[in-house]
Symmetry: C2
Subunit: 464 residues, 2 copies
């Protein structure tokens, strides 16, 4: 494709997306296609000759869009939000268009330096402790951040022996029983074994019981295990519970255990001074991450991962073959982000966050987060005022968890299916203390009060 | 940003990129900034209020572009190519703009089904064996594909015990001493220990000695180790050496060892029937990957990873929390790609490959690969005809490795630095049999004969 063709078709795609944004509210939130429908609509064989660009755009409309669940829809309340925004899309377009590789500083210095810089901007916006400044790196997701933290922790605890000889002893990891599935996945990947992931009980608010953690760590040490890492969640996936990080940090300090704080969803709330309590205890954390791609207007994939001691991370992940040697790396004056992550190659992902921070500014970001927090509080007040419903925990951020009183689990599952089948909104569920709970996660940039109200009225109607 | 603002600024970015493509040839290939230059040019603090979009575009020109090494430049011959193209950029733009999550089939069915379908198209274009059809998944990179293959292999070899209890025995992995650094990285990450990565010697052509492999595996088994995986390279990073996959497969079959074939760079060559010899032995491989983001006009990150037995992969990687349960997954009728990879979340990455395959068609892709192979052959003929230079191995694909006769390693390093400092082209080096060798990797879509000729003349001039 020539630059002139790119210019023409690029404008067509921009217009197609702008049109899509404008009509998004009129589309069903959840796709209703059946398994196999999309594949059946596609030609079984690839084309021999190239096709006109217009044919691809036509198939986007006819085949792709009907098969999508619209995560950017103002009435998407499922899972956690996966925000994007105009400046993020355009920053990512610049990244795709430049097509540079940031595996080493030397392979495109701006790709590395803008990343460090923008993550420092983010650290300032969130008022993160000094220990994390200059020590940020973009991961694709919080799952990868947890894995990298675990690898650094494993090597620190075994003095590099696991990397050299393999895991040979019982290495234990701790997280609350509400922690994200990525903790178990990381424990398995890193060769520790899921039996050595110790799930700490939670209190009535679904937050980790730090005293139970202390007992479990002490017992494991007495039994000859080596505690490697504790993952504290600030905003669990189920209910946005917040583990008591300062008390957890005490336990970690006592035993020299790596403390990773997973604030994938809720960490960005700290752009608002009134929500900075989410940072409590971070001055003693070894690593921390949040996902601007969840709730900070930045498209997937952009997890911001910070470590207190980068040498612990790079020591665990560096492998240096001849074909990557270069003068800049050997000078020690630069950061090579390939040593901060699992893959070797890397996109210029900081551009999209840079575009977002500049377009919205601190004020715009605060307005964005505050709007959802206020909507969640208002929805919670409606739930609270309706005798048929009950809140499950108080909403802290943009998530409201609720149940219908006197409705059993199967009834909630059926209710959820009925609500989602309307196409008018999308919710998901979790379990709290063994009972099914419905989640309403408010976080799309396009969501207004009327969308939340409509979802609430739909819930009341379908609850019968 | 409103849809109307997106429409306006989107066109500005498209025009900016088209202009960048048009002027790319006039820019220096390698950035000449010093460490810290880019950061020093950026404001130390994030903006409080939002900034005009024009300011961001201005800083792209003034700060970012001078700090880039231009991987899409027609005279970029370093590392391996990291191709992109107009349709790839626009497919990725659609992905960013739609902002959907493909972690589960249910979270956007088209995201999953288009991926399976387009990877089947690619399998057909490359004439991959039947065992891989319907079993493809997009990874960010070949590093991640190698890690996922290793995790599946580890669990198959230990019957799921490593995932449950942790790595407790000596598990060995085999690759040639020319294998990519990601093999060692994966072995470390998976808790096997780098001491248990057994580097198999190579023959004079830098290809794995399959007889040595057979001896090493037998010795390790006799010593009580459990061989888990062999990684065979089709196109090593240093010199595009091709391991003898059929002979390696014999060894793997004898010992029930997982065979992963890493064809990150060279795998896509099979779009050309005359290069399908790269597929030899794949009908007995357990997994295989190639990177369309290297040499098939598709922007990073898009590694195409195929497995013969998806259950071995998902068995190793599945963790199912309540908040991800859904009727479609439980029906067994759909694929949930989150269980095929390390992270949970995933972009709609198949769009860019779909756009590329449709825009170029099989004919266009063949023309693209053949053009570079022909240019490499022509450069090799020039090297061969110049008594001062010598070829190191015959070029098979788009890479030419060469040395100046009677110049020592330090002389080659200095020559490389002089050539790259001109900004006229970018080369890298490797070592072969302990000696420094220069690499000329021809793979940019914009590269023409005149660019290769200019690089050759520059090399001759600087060689003195």
């Amino acid at each position: 494709m020539t630059p002139e063709e790119f210019r023409r078709h690029g404008r067509e795609v921009v217009d197609w997306l702008a049109d899509h944004m404008e009509r998004l509210e009129d589309l069903p939130v959840q796709s209703t296609v059946a398994p196999g429908d999309v594949r059946a609509a596609l030609p079984p064989h690839p084309p021999q000759a190239g096709e006109p660009f217009a044919d691809v755009l036509r198939d986007l409309d006819d085949i792709v869009v009907p098969g999508l669940t619209q995560w950017q829809h103002p009435s998407f309340f499922a899972y956690f939000p996966a925000n994007t925004s105009g400046p993020s899309i355009l920053g990512d377009l610049v990244s795709s268009g430049l097509g540079v590789q940031g595996m080493l500083w030397a392979t495109s210095p701006a790709c590395t330096e803008l990343e460090t810089h923008v993550l420092d901007w983010l650290a300032e916006l969130l008022d993160l402790p000094e220990r994390f400044r200059g020590h940020g790196v973009i991961q694709d997701s919080a799952s990868s951040a947890t894995l990298c933290a675990l690898l650094a922790a494993r090597e620190r605890a075994t003095r590099g022996r696991s990397n050299r000889e393999g895991v040979r002893e019982r290495l234990t990891v701790y997280a609350s029983d509400q922690a994200h599935s990525s903790v178990e996945k990381a424990v398995r990947i890193a060769g520790l074994g899921q039996d050595n992931l110790r799930l700490v009980p939670v209190d009535g608010d679904q937050a980790m019981d730090a005293e139970a953690l202390a007992r479990m760590v002490a017992e494991d040490v007495a039994a000859g295990a080596v505690p490697v890492m504790v993952v504290a969640a600030v905003g669990t996936t189920g209910t946005t519970a917040v583990d008591p990080v300062p008390a957890v940090a005490d336990v970690c300090a006592r035993h020299g255990v790596w403390l990773h704080v997973d604030a994938a969803y809720a960490g960005v709330a700290a752009v608002c001074p009134e929500l900075r309590w989410v940072n409590a205890g971070l001055d003693r954390a070894d690593s921390w991450c949040t996902n601007p791609h969840k709730w900070l207007l930045t498209g997937f994939d952009l997890d911001a991962f910070y470590v207190a001691d980068p040498v612990a991370l790079t020591g665990a992940l560096t492998v240096l073959p001849e074909y990557l040697r270069n003068a800049a790396s050997e000078s020690g004056a630069v950061v090579d982000y390939r040593d901060w992550q699992v893959p070797l190659g890397r996109r210029f992902r900081s551009l999209k966050l840079w575009f977002v921070l500049r377009w919205y500014g601190a004020e715009g970001l605060r307005e964005h987060v505050r709007g959802h927090v206020a909507l969640a509080a208002e929805l919670a007040s409606w739930v609270d005022a309706d005798a048929r419903f009950e809140l499950v925990g108080a909403p802290r951020f943009g998530l409201v968890c609720l149940r219908v009183r006197d409705l059993d689990d199967a009834g909630h599952v059926a209710l959820l299916a009925r609500v989602n089948a309307t196409g008018a909104c999308s919710l998901t569920h979790t379990t709290v203390a063994g009972r099914v709970v419905l989640r309403v996660a408010i976080g799309s940039p396009a969501t207004e009060r009327r969308h939340v109200l409509a979802a609430w009225e739909l819930l009341r109607r379908e609850a019968g």
